[in-house]
Structure formats: structure tokens, C-alpha cells
């Protein structure tokens, strides 16, 4: 092997710093530069910094972001979050492995171009199954689309090399019309960046009286790329599933260019109508829903926008626009008119509870930190949204960075802190980029820094990027991570409010909690408390995904029923199947069966039925989803993500997984269900942190509501036809001999017999479902 050039290490350390707490950042820099972490580089870091060999080894092997062997030039991150799991994420992984000829047990193709890895969740659940190649996200994948994705990526690489990215954020102008498009990561994954460029080009070329504007997400990800046209007269139109080729037509339809005759415009309009019903290109599925159609109205009308106020209309990074829309009014009011006690009293009256999962009353945390005398206190914003199937925090940060900064600043004022940390998971590069830019802007404009708004209050914010560890969402683990240690939770008490970051009183709240604070201060606590139920006030943001017609980010008043969210907002289940259950709260939550879908969304009600609010992931499951498989999926996740400290969590979750795997393979033992319950109870009662304590929930809730499915697996049946070992694929008499299945079968299990009924060799069949998806006569039977 060539001698490694380690000069970069010294440069990185020089730039980042040599303190122990810098370890994550240094490692990220090295990996960014070299693609992995060679031992020589780590040893060099130890020579140059206060970081010890033991610490750097412990940290670099704890977080899944880091790799210790060379990688290919590009990394393909295949999401296996809940929504992607139920839509076949693992099969996409297998397809890449086959397509790239990656040897068993390896993760990189022989030419060292691509490295594939599974990631817990990319937070683009409504595009499931989804993957990321370097910075580019691809959604709605099928195993069939894999070669196309690779080709597209390599072409984009070429194109990008030729064209430098232009970064100008359009300023709004009352004289002009606006063409708004969301450029958050999941919309970009649906192609909105290309549409954005095409729209700009079309406006320039036609000299239309309009500006093209990047805006925060409307939440209607199922329509992405969604273009909203707001002419100067104010009546807006929305176009869903827009392609770059449509850009010119859209511009022409709404903005009359002087040179073009009326006749042409009419032609263009007819053409547009045709395009909007076209479903051509895979993998990005297009939709043909107009905002004036009833379904979209349904998506919006049950929602109440507080954390997502002005959704879809303001530019995430345009501070002036934020200010014009009441931005920083709450902070202004706080620092000039309210005492810390008054702020805390307002929060108390609003009834706000932590939006990160457990629902701890927010004012109690704030007043505990406030009450402790200390010259130094910290405020932390927890943006380590690790739950597979959740993307609220990502979209909030990407779309409303100023709001979250404002909320955190108000909190800092209330508890007496002058320094804050935003801890954001590394899988969200755009969120990190936007919040950094927003912080810089705030500093330049005096909303952060010393003597904010000419008062006595000072507040600085730093950003720490996580490195891939779900457990770091637990507050004590998150603190350990910021301090540059392995993200291991510790026994509480003492709580972080008493002894947190570097032993100082520390307030930790979730992104969404901070996001609603400015609204509460501006509109008064009563306005917030009027929404919701007796014990759960205000609104909750949910990430809606799974087998649902309209996935996306929704903000609803507490107390709304799960059924209303799924059916009225989400448009119900796709593909003509029936809703079976709703997974609420990710790996800490549970599955709410359809019979209980009428229950209101409220912390206590969800706990009572064995689920949990969690951070707000909501994944709809239909009859084709196996509940034992879902339980196995979550246990696989938690036992992977366990920090490995407590005996029950470390080994107990693995033993539960052993049993679930046995069940899914049809090798269950009679006592298995009982054994699962027995282990679950002990894990829940003894674990130190929330991860372990709630890890058994997905298993317990599925046993509780779907015991018959467990029983069926004991008898060697998977009623949903999902567990590979328990199902067989066969061809029915409906086969017309078109040979499509044979052409597409990745394992050569179907011999090509034109005009004859085909047959599937069960020994060669890998149960990937490709034949079923390509068959045009529905002649593939799974049982």
C-alpha cells in the first residue's frame, strides 16, 4: 500500500482544535478526506491532541458513520428505516450487491467505485424505499431501477463537474410573481433541484415577471417536486410531480411574455394538462394531483401550523422574510419585556411537553435549570432524530432554522444560559448546512452573540454533528457525545438539568419543542393550551409514511384521532389494501391496530395502549405487512443501536431478536412467545435509559394485538406472506408467457418459455418479489 499522506491530519487538527471534545469533528474531517480512518491517521491525531488512543478507538468504533477500512469512491447509503423496510429496502440492498458484483461479506465492488451500506433512516420516509449516493438522494426505488440509478448518478457526476453550483436565494418582490419550490433533502430527492434550475432558466429566457424562490417544505412530500405559482394578483396554483421539461410550460402559462402569441400559450396549456397526468419516469414517481382537488385540501385542512408556521411560503434562509413574518418578535418581547420567571410561567401555562418522546413537562425542565445557581449553564437542541421512520426534525431544521434558533434563545434567556449546542445527526447534511448558515446570519444581524437586541442577554450557538448512533438521542448519551466520548447513557439522577454538559446545569429539548416556543410567546400560552386534550396541549408534528397515499410532514392538534391522520390527511392506504396497524413512535413505540385507530393522539392514551408518542414517526401498515417481521425489524434495530452497557439491553435484546428470527424462519418453539414476554418485562424494568426501557414495546404491542400472527408463525405460516422462509412464489394459469419475469429474475429461477406458462424454481428463488412486480397479468402467487 502507498504511504498515506498524513499532512491533512495536522491541518485538520490545526483548524478544528486539539481538545478531547473535538474528536468527532476531527474524525469526520479525516474520513471526509480519506474515505475511512486509517490507524496511522488516528495515531497521528493522538500525537497532536489531548485525545488518547483508548478514547479515539472507543469513539471511532462506537459510531456507525466511521469506517476503518478503505471505501469505494462513492458511498451508497441504502435506507432501511421503517418505511423503507416495509417497502422492500433490504431487497434494494441485495439488488445493489448483485448488480455491483460485491462479494459476500464485503461492501465494496471489485473496482472500488461504490461502497454500499445500510443506514438506519435517511429521514425521507415518504419516498421509500430511498437511498443516498454521496449527496444525491433517490426515492421510490425498485430492484428494477438499480442499474438506472447507478447510470443516472454517474451522469450527474459528469454534469456537475462541468457546471458549478450557483447559490443565489431569490428575494421576494411584491412587484413580481413568485414561483415557489421546496429544496429540502427529500424534495431534492424527488428531483426538485433540477426543476428549480429549469424554472430559473425558463424565467430568464422568457423574461417572465417572476422570481423563482426556494421555500421551506409544505409537508406535501407526496407531491414533490411541488411547484407553487403565486402571480402578483395572489391566486396561487400548485403543480405536483413537475419535471424539468415542464418548467418552461409552467412559466409561460402564468407569466405572459411579450413576444409570445396567445395561440402558443393555449397550445402550451393543453400540453401541460397532458404532462400532468403522465407517469413516465421511474424511480421518481409522479403524481397528478392539483391543489384544487379535494384530496390535497384534505391534507391541509385538518392541520394547524405552529412549528411549521408559514409552511411552503417562506424561504428557509431569508432572515428578512422571517422577520416580516413575525420572526424574532417573540425573542424581542422576551428580552425586553419578560423576566425569566415570566417566560417559564408562560411555558407552564401553555402546557407544553417535550416533543422528543417522553412528554416531560417543559416548564419543569426549564425551572430546574433556572433554579440552580451556576455561573455557566448550557442549552442543547436535540436534533439527533434517529428513529427509523421519523423525519420531523430534519424538515423543521431545513425549513425553519430561524424559528428553532429563536426558540432556543428564548429558552437560554429563561434558564440563564449563554451558550448553546445544536446536536444534529450526520445523516442530515442539508439540515446542518442550513442551520449553520442561519446561525451565521443571526450572528451578523445581532440575533445571536453578545448583547442580543441591544439588551444584556448574550447567547452563542455551536453545532455538533452526530456520527450515527440512535442512542445519542438519549440526553445523557448526547452529552457524552458532545464531550467527545462514546455515546453511553448514564444512570440518572443526577439529571442534566442539575449536572449536564461538563458537569454544568444543562437544558436539553427537542427541535420541535423549541420550534413552538416563539409562537407561544407571541400568541400567548392560552392560545396554545386551547388546542389539544386535557393532558396534551398544542400541536404535534408527525412524519407520515408507509403504505399511505399521501406521506409527508403534518402538524395536527393533539387529540386528533390516528384514523383522521391516516385517512383524512394521509388519504388512506395505497394499492387497494386495508389498513392493518399504525406504527407510532418508532423503536420505542408500538403498533396500534386498526381497531384502535379511533384513539386520540395524546401522550397518555398512546402509552396506555402500549405505544408511545416517541418523536412522532407514524408508519401505516397494511395487510401485506407481517407483524412478527415488524417486531423483528425493530428489535434488530435496537439491539444494533444499544450502546452495549446494561446486560439486559445488550444481551437481552439480542436474545429476543434470536427468538423473533427463529419465528420468522418458521423454527419457533412453543415457549417462544412466553419467553419474549418474560425478557421484555425484565429489559423494560431494569434498563438505565429510554432506549432499553422502551425497546420491548414493538414486541409487546404486536404480541398484544396480533398474537394470532405469532401463533401462525409457530405453526410455520406467515399470514401476510412476508417472511421469506415461510413463503413460496409460483406462477398461476393467468400467465400468458410474456417472459418478463424470466428476463428480470435476478437469480435465474425462471426459465424463459415464450407463450407458455412459466415456472419458478423454488431452490433458486430468492423471494425478492421482482417477478411479481413486473408481471402484467398478476400471475405470480405468493403463499
Amino acid at each position: 500500500m502507498d504511504e498515506l499522506d498524513l499532512t491533512f491530519v495536522a491541518q485538520a487538527v490545526e483548524k478544528i482544535g486539539a481538545g478531547e471534545e473535538k474528536v468527532l469533528e476531527i474524525l469526520q474531517a479525516i474520513q471526509g478526506h480519506l474515505g475511512y480512518l486509517p490507524t496511522e491517521a488516528l495515531e497521528r491525531v493522538c500525537e497532536l491532541t489531548d485525545i488518547t488512543p483508548a478514547s479515539i478507538t472507543g469513539v471511532s468504533t462506537f459510531y456507525s458513520q466511521f469506517r476503518h477500512r478503505p471505501a469505494g469512491r462513492h458511498t451508497i447509503k441504502i435506507c432501511i428505516g421503517t418505511a423503507c423496510h416495509v417497502k422492500g429496502g433490504e431487497q434494494i440492498y441485495d439488488a445493489f450487491q448483485r448488480d455491483l458484483s460485491i462479494p459476500e461479506g464485503d461492501d465494496t465492488d471489485p473496482q472500488k467505485i461504490f461502497t454500499i451500506e445500510k443506514v438506519a433512516c435517511l429521514g425521507c420516509c415518504m419516498l421509500a424505499p430511498v437511498l443516498q449516493i454521496d449527496d444525491i438522494t433517490y426515492g421510490h426505488l425498485t430492484t428494477e431501477a438499480v442499474p438506472m440509478v447507478l447510470r443516472d448518478f454517474l451522469e450527474q457526476q459528469k454534469a456537475q463537474a462541468q457546471q458549478a453550483d450557483r447559490q443565489d436565494y431569490a428575494k421576494s418582490d411584491k412587484e413580481l410573481g413568485q414561483i415557489r419550490i421546496c429544496l429540502d433533502s427529500s424534495c431534492v430527492a424527488s428531483g426538485s433541484a433540477k426543476v428549480y434550475q429549469a424554472l430559473k432558466k425558463a424565467v430568464e429566457e422568457t423574461r417572465a415577471q417572476a422570481v423563482v424562490k426556494s421555500v421551506g417544505c409544505s409537508g406535501m412530500s407526496f407531491l414533490a417536486p411541488l411547484v407553487e405559482v403565486v402571480p402578483a394578483d395572489g391566486v396561487s396554483f400548485r403543480y405536483a410531480g413537475v419535471l424539468p421539461a415542464d418548467a418552461r410550460a409552467i412559466v409561460l402559462r402564468h407569466f405572459k411574455p411579450k413576444q409570445i402569441t396567445r395561440k402558443i400559450r393555449n397550445t402550451v396549456s393543453t400540453m401541460l394538462d397532458k404532462i400532468l397526468t403522465d407517469k413516465a419516469w421511474e424511480p421518481v414517481t409522479r403524481y397528478s394531483i392539483d391543489v384544487r382537488d379535494r384530496p390535497v385540501a384534505g391534507f391541509l385542512e385538518k392541520q394547524v401550523h405552529i412549528a411549521t408556521e408559514h409552511c411552503g411560503s417562506i424561504d428557509p434562509l431569508d432572515l428578512d422574510e422571517y422577520i416580516r413574518n413575525d420572526g424574532f418578535k417573540a425573542l424581542q418581547k422576551t428580552v425586553s419585556m419578560l423576566s425569566p420567571e415570566q417566560v417559564i410561567a408562560d411555558i407552564e401555562r401553555s402546557g407544553l411537553r417535550g416533543r422528543g418522546g417522553a412528554g416531560f413537562p417543559t416548564h419543569l425542565k426549564w425551572s430546574t435549570v433556572y433554579d440552580i445557581k451556576s455561573r455557566k449553564k448550557y442549552v442543547i437542541c436535540n436534533g439527533d432524530e434517529g428513529d427509523p421512520g421519523a423525519f420531523m426534525d430534519r424538515m423543521l431544521i431545513e425549513s425553519y432554522p430561524y424559528r428553532i434558533i429563536e426558540g432556543a434563545a428564548i429558552a437560554a434567556y429563561a434558564v440563564g444560559a449563554d451558550e448553546g449546542y445544536f446536536y444534529i445527526r450526520a445523516e442530515y447534511p442539508l439540515a446542518i448546512k442550513r442551520i449553520s448558515q442561519a446561525i451565521n446570519t443571526c450572528q451578523q444581524r445581532g440575533f445571536l452573540g453578545n448583547n442580543i437586541m441591544a439588551g444584556t442577554f448574550s447567547f452563542q450557538i455551536k453545532i455538533v454533528a452526530g456520527a450515527g448512533a440512535f442512542v445519542c438521542g438519549e440526553e445523557t448519551a448526547l452529552i457524552a457525545s458532545i464531550e467527545g466520548r462514546r455515546g453511553m447513557p448514564r444512570l440518572r439522577p443526577p439529571y442534566p438539568a442539575e449536572s449536564g454538559l461538563w458537569g454544568r446545569p444543562t437544558l436539553i429539548n427537542n427541535v420541535e419543542t423549541y420550534a413552538v416556543v416563539p409562537w407561544i410567546i407571541r400568541n400567548g400560552p392560552q392560545a396554545f393550551a386551547r388546542l389539544g386534550t386535557t393532558s396534551s396541549k398544542g400541536t404535534k408534528v408527525f412524519a407520515l409514511a408507509g403504505k399511505i397515499a399521501r406521506g409527508g410532514l403534518v402538524e395536527v392538534p393533539m387529540g386528533i384521532s390516528i384514523r383522521q391522520i391516516i385517512e383524512d390527511i394521509g388519504g388512506g392506504i395505497t394499492e387497494g389494501l386495508k389498513l392493518k396497524a399504525v406504527q407510532v413512535g418508532g423503536p420505542s413505540g408500538g403498533c396500534v391496530p386498526v381497531e384502535l385507530a379511533h384513539i386520540p393522539v395524546d401522550y397518555e392514551t398512546l402509552n396506555d395502549i402500549g405505544a408511545m408518542m416517541g418523536s412522532g414517526g407514524m408508519v401505516a401498515l397494511d395487510e401485506s405487512d407481517c407483524m412478527v417481521d415488524i417486531a423483528r425489524y425493530f428489535l434488530d434495530f435496537t439491539q444494533n443501536q444499544s450502546c452495549g452497557k446494561c446486560t439486559f439491553c445488550r444481551i437481552g435484546t439480542r436474545r429476543m431478536l434470536d427468538i423473533l428470527e427463529r419465528l420468522c424462519a418458521g423454527e419457533g418453539k412453543k415457549t417462544d412467545i412466553q419467553e419474549l414476554e418474560h425478557l421484555a418485562q425484565k429489559i423494560a424494568n431494569t434498563s438505565l435509559c429510554g432506549l432499553g426501557r422502551t425497546a420491548p414495546n414493538p414486541v409487546l404491542s404486536t404480541i398484544k394485538y396480533f398474537r394470532d400472527e405469532y401463533q401462525a408463525h409457530l405453526e410455520g405460516r406467515c399470514p401476510a406472506g412476508r417472511c421469506k422462509a415461510l413463503i413460496t412464489y409460483s406462477v398461476t394459469d393467468d400467465c400468458i408467457g410474456c417472459t418478463l419475469c424470466s428476463q428480470h429474475c435476478p437469480s435465474d429461477a425462471i426459465e424463459m418459455r415464450p407463450y407458455e406458462k412459466h415456472e419458478i424454481d423454488p431452490d433458486k428463488c430468492i423471494r425478492c418479489g421482482t417477478c411479481k412486480s413486473v408481471c402484467q397479468t398478476d400471475a405470480i402467487k405468493v403463499e
Binding site: 483508548a54 462506537f62 444512570l491 444499544s642 452497557k645 446486560t647 436474545r655 438505565l688
Partner: protein, 521 residues
């Protein structure tokens, strides 16, 4: 100063004291493994869990600060079940044997690996003491034992099993030939006497261990001389009479009385024996028709009916063992019966509950995975199995040492001090409760004094802390996350480089056999 109640007893402790401290003040022992005074809390093993104020959740006593007015339960059935489950989970991920397969297979449970190491170290006196702790007639068995131990010897997977039986014979012969053959220290004389019927291997062994415990023993036998089948059923070629007599002589030296030509049913009656002695041990060998009935004993298909653990018969105070209770008659089994029955008889005579000998807790690796035998063999001599010539002769001193060096040391170096084992026994943990794929057996041997076996680690992290406190330049660290987390030296360095000065301390702090001193005999 918080006042609290633990198991219904009040205690007052200093501010900041933990529940563990408070319990200690009351003399209540809460089990701990990952806790060590002077180290930062690990709160990971969860063996010290207690219940506070009736909450469903259990908390670790080692890290929970005692609060005024708390009510703590430290030993309820629920808590015992949780502790047991914690131990069973740890054991499900444990790659190591407490006792070697040879010892586990030996009917007499003789500590074979220890004997072998004592031979290798030239400590012959210690070796014979080890042997005689479990086998009263080693020179005899060294000649006639069918060697179940060698059938399971792990070395056989590498080349050939260690010559365990010949090594035992070597030690026993050496002892008999010495000026001063080994005699165990006997407890002071007890005022209780045992009648043993039958002077075969079971009767002689029972006499040996009862005498050692200070009980008077009289052996009755129908033959003129003691030895039973050993004297009358084995050929002189295999077992010369002088060897048998030399070992019996040692038992007589301990105080055994022998009365020959006494046959129960004719010259003796069970009533007489039960009247004249405090207990009777029936070891008459294979029963002839009517034998059991003449003694008033019930029979089972294989012989006299006994309680398999305590050797008790249907008659109070009458025990039976050896060939009289078994179909297959094996001298080593009979010797084991004699030893075990002696334990039960001792319990009976001293008024304790009669439970028989306690079972040593053992967790086993079981079948080895590919490559693991090489790991085991790495620390042992590569010499081939030695066969003394001419056949039937024993080892020379050098041969014995060479052969002993072939032992793989399968048994745990910390079998006596391992907390995991102690608590597993105490809480009745079953190692196979949560069978899953076991981790690999790995040994790190590079350190001159210390061996590291990650498969036995419970991830308490004490060694990591101690190394860090000792300012080791490399030290130790956790590697990985979740189920696969392991303790290792950074950057793949050896344990010798990782622990340059803290090794001894780490071994002492390690609650299991993961870190141990290499050469402990």
C-alpha cells in the same frame, strides 16, 4: 442524613451514600460485579438491582443515592429472578469452561487440570493431595480406570488426548514409593461411628473420607482381606496385589477397622449394625438374590433403591452405593460413590439437612468452532502424546513433566474467585437458558504474566478505568457497540503493550476469568 428502610430494617446514612452503602451498613450483602470502590460507576451488570418504594422499575443499588424515607427491597423473589436472568444472559454470551471437560467427565470430579499443572511444576506432593481430595485409591485406578476423562480431553482435537490416567498413576506410585506417603489431615475425632458393609472400592473410599472427617469406621466384608472386586475380580497383571494393599494400608493408617468373613444375613444382621453404629453404608457390590431383602432394603431395577443425590435408602440412617446400586460397575464410579456418600453421611451425622455434595457450577463451551482448537493449543507444548515403554510401565519424571505440558488448560484460571460463577450458583442460573450463537473463544497470551480471554468478559469496564488511572499510554478501550462491544487494546496492539504496569491490578479487579494470571497452580 437520610433515613431509609431496607428489607424492613431502618438505617441512617451520610448524604450522598448509595443504597449499596446503606445496605452494607446493615450487613445486608447486595451482589455486585461491575462495581469497585475507587472506580467510576459502570452500572452495567445489573446484578445489584433493588426495588425502591415498590416501583416496577428496578435500580442498581451501586449507583442510586439513598434518599430519606425510601423503602428498599433487596432480596424478594422478583429481584432474585431478575438477577438470575441477568446472570443467565451473561452466561449465554460466555465463551469459557469453569471446569475442564476432563474434570466434568470424571465420575469422581477430580481436579485433573490442577493435578497436571502441579506435575508440570514439579510439585508432586501438591499433586497427590489434589488427586486424593477426590480419589481415595489413585494407584489402583491408575491401572484399571476406563478413563472417561481422556475421551473428552480437548487435546484430542489437536492430536491425541493427554495421558491423564498415566499421570495420575505416576503421581500415586511416586507417593507410595516415598518414605512418607501422603495422608490427609484428619479432623478431630467425632463421637460417631459408621459401619461399612463391603470392602470394595466404594466402601474403602467412603471409609477414607469419613475417617478424614473424624468419624470412626468399621468395614465388614465376607472375604478374609479387604479389596472386594479389586482383589478378587481383577487380574494380577493389571492390578498387582501389593499396590492395592499399599493403598488400603494408608486407609488403615487413618484408623479404619477391618472385620473379615462377616456376611450380612448370616454372621451379621442389619438390626445389629443399626443398633451398634450411628449409620450404615451398604457397599456390598453386585447383589445376589435375596441380599437386599435380608437387609430390609428396597430395590430398584439396578439394585438397592437410593436417593440419587444423597445415597439414602428406605431405612433411616442407612446409605448405599457402589455396585450394589448400579448396573454398570465401574471402579471409578464406585470410588466416587464412596466419596459422595461420605458427604451425605457426614451431613446426617452432624444433624444438617442431608443434601449430598453440592454440585459445582459449570458453564461449558461445548462443541468448538473452526479454528478454536488452535487457540486452545497456542499456549501448550506441541510435543506428541508420550507412551512409556515397555507398555504397562509408568512415566519417568521427565516424561511426566513433558506429558503434563501438553494440557490445554481448558479450566478457568479464576474458577474459585469468579463472581459470575459464584452468583450463578447462588441464584441457580442455568447457563443454557438463553442459548444463542456463542461468541468465539479467543485468548491473548502476549503478556508475560496475564492472559486475556474476551469471551469471558462482562463489559464492566473496570480494567479500562484502571489502565487509564494508571496512565497507561495505550491502555484498554471498548470497541464497537451493542451486543458486539468488546474490550481491547487500541490499534490492535497486544495486551502486553496495553497493560505495561496496570496488569496486576486489572486482574484483581476483573470480576470474571477474562483477565487472569497465567500460571496459577
Amino acid at each position: 442524613m437520610p433515613r431509609l428502610t431496607i428489607d424492613n430494617r431502618q438505617v441512617e446514612v451520610d448524604n450522598g451514600a448509595t443504597i449499596l452503602d446503606a445496605a452494607a451498613k446493615l450487613g445486608i450483602e447486595i451482589p455486585t460485579m461491575c462495581f469497585l470502590k475507587g472506580c467510576k460507576l459502570s452500572t452495567s451488570c445489573m446484578i445489584c438491582v433493588v426495588k425502591v418504594n415498590g416501583s416496577d422499575r428496578l435500580v442498581p443499588a451501586c449507583g442510586t443515592i439513598a434518599q430519606d424515607g425510601q423503602t428498599i427491597e433487596s432480596d424478594s423473589e422478583e429481584i432474585r429472578q431478575v438477577r438470575k436472568a441477568a446472570l443467565e444472559l451473561l452466561l449465554s454470551d460466555h465463551a469459557g469452561d469453569c471446569i475442564g471437560p476432563c474434570q466434568a467427565a470424571c465420575p469422581a470430579r477430580m481436579n485433573i487440570p490442577l493435578m497436571i499443572r502441579q506435575i508440570a511444576a514439579g510439585k508432586f506432593r501438591d499433586a497427590i493431595a489434589t488427586v486424593k481430595k477426590d480419589i481415595a485409591l489413585p494407584a489402583v485406578l491408575g491401572r484399571i480406570c476406563p478413563k472417561p476423562c481422556e475421551r473428552v480431553c480437548r487435546r484430542a482435537l489437536f492430536d491425541k488426548p493427554v495421558s491423564i490416567c498415566l499421570l495420575k498413576k505416576y503421581v500415586a506410585d511416586l507417593d507410595l514409593q516415598s518414605a512418607n506417603p501422603y495422608l490427609p489431615a484428619c479432623k478431630p475425632g467425632q463421637d460417631k461411628r459408621v459401619a461399612i458393609v463391603g470392602a470394595g472400592p466404594a466402601g474403602l473410599a467412603a471409609a477414607y473420607y469419613l475417617l478424614k472427617d473424624g468419624y470412626g469406621c468399621t468395614i465388614f466384608d465376607e472375604h478374609e482381606s479387604p479389596g472386594g472386586m479389586l482383589r478378587y475380580g481383577v487380574s494380577q497383571d493389571k492390578l498387582p496385589t501389593d499396590v492395592l494393599e499399599a493403598e488400603i494400608a494408608l486407609i488403615e493408617k487413618l484408623g479404619m477397622e477391618f472385620q473379615g468373613q462377616m456376611r450380612i444375613g448370616t454372621t451379621l444382621s442389619m438390626e445389629d449394625l443399626r443398633r451398634d453404629f450411628d449409620t450404615v453404608f451398604v457397599a456390598v457390590g453386585q447383589l445376589k438374590p435375596g441380599d437386599a431383602e435380608s437387609m430390609g432394603l428396597e430395590t430398584a431395577p439396578n439394585g438397592i433403591a437410593i436417593n440419587g443425590r444423597t445415597y439414602e435408602t428406605n431405612l433411616p440412617g442407612v446409605f448405599a452405593g457402589g455396585g450394589a446400586v448400579r448396573k454398570r460397575r465401574l471402579a471409578v464410579r464406585a470410588v466416587a460413590d464412596g466419596k459422595e456418600a461420605a458427604v451425605a453421611i457426614g451431613q446426617y451425622l452432624s444433624g444438617q439437612p442431608v443434601t449430598g455434595p453440592a454440585n459445582a457450577f459449570n458453564t461449558r463451551i461445548g462443541k468448538l468452532k473452526d479454528g478454536e482448537i488452535e487457540t486452545f493449543a497456542a499456549g501448550a507444548s506441541k510435543t506428541r502424546r508420550l507412551t512409556p515403554s515397555p507398555e504397562g510401565s509408568g512415566f519417568t519424571d521427565d516424561q511426566a513433566r513433558d506429558e503434563a505440558a501438553r494440557c490445554l488448560h481448558c479450566d478457568c484460571r479464576k474458577a474459585q474467585s469468579c463472581k459470575l460463577r459464584q452468583y450463578a450458583r447462588h441464584y441457580g442460573a442455568r447457563p443454557s437458558r438463553y442459548k444463542g450463537e456463542r461468541r468465539s473463544f479467543v485468548q491473548h497470551l502476549q503478556h508475560p504474566d496475564v492472559i486475556y480471554e474476551p469471551g469471558k468478559c462482562i463489559n464492566c469496564g473496570l480494567c479500562i478505568q484502571i489502565a487509564s488511572q494508571a496512565r497507561e499510554s495505550l491502555g484498554l478501550t471498548f470497541i464497537g457497540r451493542g451486543f458486539d462491544v468488546r474490550v481491547a487494546v487500541p490499534f490492535d496492539h497486544s495486551i502486553a503493550e496495553g497493560l505495561k504496569h496496570a496488569a496486576k491490578q486489572c486482574v484483581e479487579a476483573c470480576p470474571t476469568g477474562a483477565l487472569a494470571f497465567k500460571n496459577k497452580t
